[in-house]
């Protein structure tokens, strides 16, 4: 079906398609539309989920974990401070190996109080053992939310998964959307360690150092295995529904001398900057990092790299920039831009490329190059 919808509505539609048994959620700007829409679907009978209204995000995640441990498929959505309030439970979900799927509408963290897009909320949870993916269009938000369940629930993964979309910029922007009928693309969830009263087991007991260490290695092993599962699921999605996805999205990169690397909606608008630069004779390409955990394997050799970072590790550097430096030999020009919803246009992005200074960092609008 063809329609026009916001990013938030697209996520709710995807959830309705996959039909999780349990949704537990707490509203927060700019995510509220997702859980409102899901609640409306449950209320009008078009979604047969148990909807658990809770008093906080911490409880939302705790309820999802509890439901997941019984073998139920679960979903929640949050943003910003709501995500941070879940922090303890995020570690718990990964450690308990439950495939909770969550939409996180990326928003800055206060103070100063700010409701606009930034990636710091998700970045601050990057070491919790969750898979993280960042989307750039309404269609991609929808498609990725559907794929998220199959990836997270795969027997080689069994880890929670966070679908990130930029607050307002994508959550509240209407774009064309083609919905699908998932059919057997999403098989029934089989959780091997689900509670079974016929075969009682202990959950969350005191765990000694040796076993604990092995559990942690097992998370990392699954995170590595997730790379192949992601590729397989994305390939099957492409075969069935005709839309291709991967760990990264490349635009005019084949013969590019300079790569503009970004995440989320910046990574889509960067393609317009690339077209403008190409018309000037600058051989630029756009590389959008879609999967953030597991972090993609990038080959940037022989190219100049400009990274637009929408999240910062104070005293260290741009989170995406440092991730790229840690995994490649690139010496990027790191542009910190868009924090707290700062307006950044494709014209600005083209300027970052024209005025690049490899190895240096610029805070856009604060110490702008003339």
């Amino acid at each position: 079906m063809q329609l026009i919808a916001t990013g938030n509505k697209a996520i709710a539609e995807a959830v309705r398609q996959v039909s999780p048994e349990v949704v537990a959620a707490y509203p927060i700007t700019p995510q509220t539309e997702i859980v409102e829409q899901i609640a409306a679907y449950v209320s009008d009978g078009t979604l047969a989920s148990q909807y658990i209204p809770v008093e906080s995000e911490h409880s939302a995640m705790a309820a999802c974990i509890g439901a997941s441990v019984t073998g139920a498929r679960t979903f929640t959505a949050t943003s910003s401070h709501g995500l941070l309030y879940m922090h303890e439970m995020l570690h718990w979900a990964a450690g308990a190996r439950v495939p909770v799927v969550m939409a996180n509408v990326n928003r800055a963290l206060g103070p100063g109080w700010n409701v606009w897009a930034e990636h710091s909320d998700a970045f601050s949870q990057r070491d919790t053992g969750w898979l993280q993916v960042f989307v750039s269009t309404v269609q991609e938000a929808y498609d990725t939310t559907i794929m998220a369940f199959r990836i997270a629930e795969h027997e080689d993964v069994l880890l929670p998964l966070m679908v990130n979309l930029d607050g307002f910029t994508l959550s509240h922007t209407m774009q064309p959307l083609e919905t699908v009928v998932v059919g057997d693309f999403i098989p029934p969830l089989h959780l091997p360690h689900a509670i079974d009263v016929a075969h009682p087991r202990g959950y969350g007991p005191l765990t000694g150092p040796d076993e604990f260490f092995r559990f942690r290695w097992d998370i990392e092993r699954s995170m590595r295995d997730a790379r192949k599962v992601i590729l397989d699921v994305e390939a099957d999605f492409g075969k069935r529904f005709g839309r291709q996805y991967g760990p990264i999205e490349e635009y005019r990169c084949e013969d590019a001398d300079i790569l503009l690397i970004a995440m989320g909606t910046f990574g889509k608008e960067a393609e317009v900057a690339v077209d403008d630069l190409r018309r000037e004779g600058i051989k630029a390409g756009s590389l959008r990092v879609r999967w953030f955990r597991p972090f993609p394997v990038l080959d940037l050799s022989g190219r100049d790299v400009v990274v637009i970072d929408r999240g910062y590790s104070f005293g260290f550097g741009g989170v995406l920039t440092r991730s790229i430096q840690a995994t490649t030999k690139a010496e990027p020009f790191s542009v910190i831009a868009g924090l707290g919803g700062q307006e950044v246009t494709y014209r600005d992005m083209a300027g970052f490329v024209r005025n690049r200074r490899p190895g240096e960092e610029e805070w856009f609008g604060v110490n702008t190059i003339v």
Partner: protein, 175 residues
């Protein structure tokens, strides 16, 4: 790409107007995006929404710098906001006004959306609903078809007076 900036006041339905317009353009076979700029949400505050219409998928999310058309749902907003900012030299202005207003250098269309809403008793929480008649005016100007406007309105509102109000605006706006 055709770019439209809508100026309104919080509570006036400017965001919904942008969504209706994008929906109607989409029903007319175009690619369209509607992206409201949200500030501190409060009734009466100036609000701006953006609509882009194109024959190709639209990749731009940033605010519209050089609109082809500016829509003003409350002309008193011009005392607080520069509605001409970045407007293309050949750009057009569509005003919700009961009396004709002209701006030198710009094609300006005036239609009394508030009057139409009141005549159709489309008033919600004390505010006349101007966004559904606006769709009729935009159809008259040629941005969308009247059929697409009707379909988009019916997709969002069950009360047929909204469609009638759009038809009223279509009939009243003189080009």
């Amino acid at each position: 790409m055709y770019e439209i900036r809508i100026h309104s006041r919080g509570g006036q339905g400017g965001v919904t107007a942008a969504r209706l317009l994008a929906d109607a353009a989409f029903r007319g076979g175009k690619y369209a995006t509607a992206s409201p700029f949200y500030g501190a949400e409060r009734r009466g505050a100036p609000v701006v929404s953006f609509v882009r219409i194109d024959d190709r998928p639209i990749k731009v999310y940033s605010q519209i710098q050089h609109p082809d058309m500016v829509v003003v749902l409350d002309p008193s907003i011009m005392e607080a906001v520069d509605i001409f900012q970045g407007l293309k030299s050949e750009g057009e202005i569509l005003l919700n006004s009961s009396h004709p207003i002209t701006f030198e250098g710009y094609r300006t269309h005036c239609v009394d959306l508030t009057g139409i809403a009141i005549a159709r008793t489309l008033v919600v929480a004390g505010s006349p609903v101007v966004n559904t008649p606006l769709l009729g005016a935009l159809a008259k100007v040629g941005i969308i078809s009247l059929d697409a406007a009707r379909a988009a309105i019916r997709g969002m509102f069950s009360d047929n007076r909204n469609v009638q109000a759009a038809e009223d605006a279509y009939g009243e706006l003189v080009l």
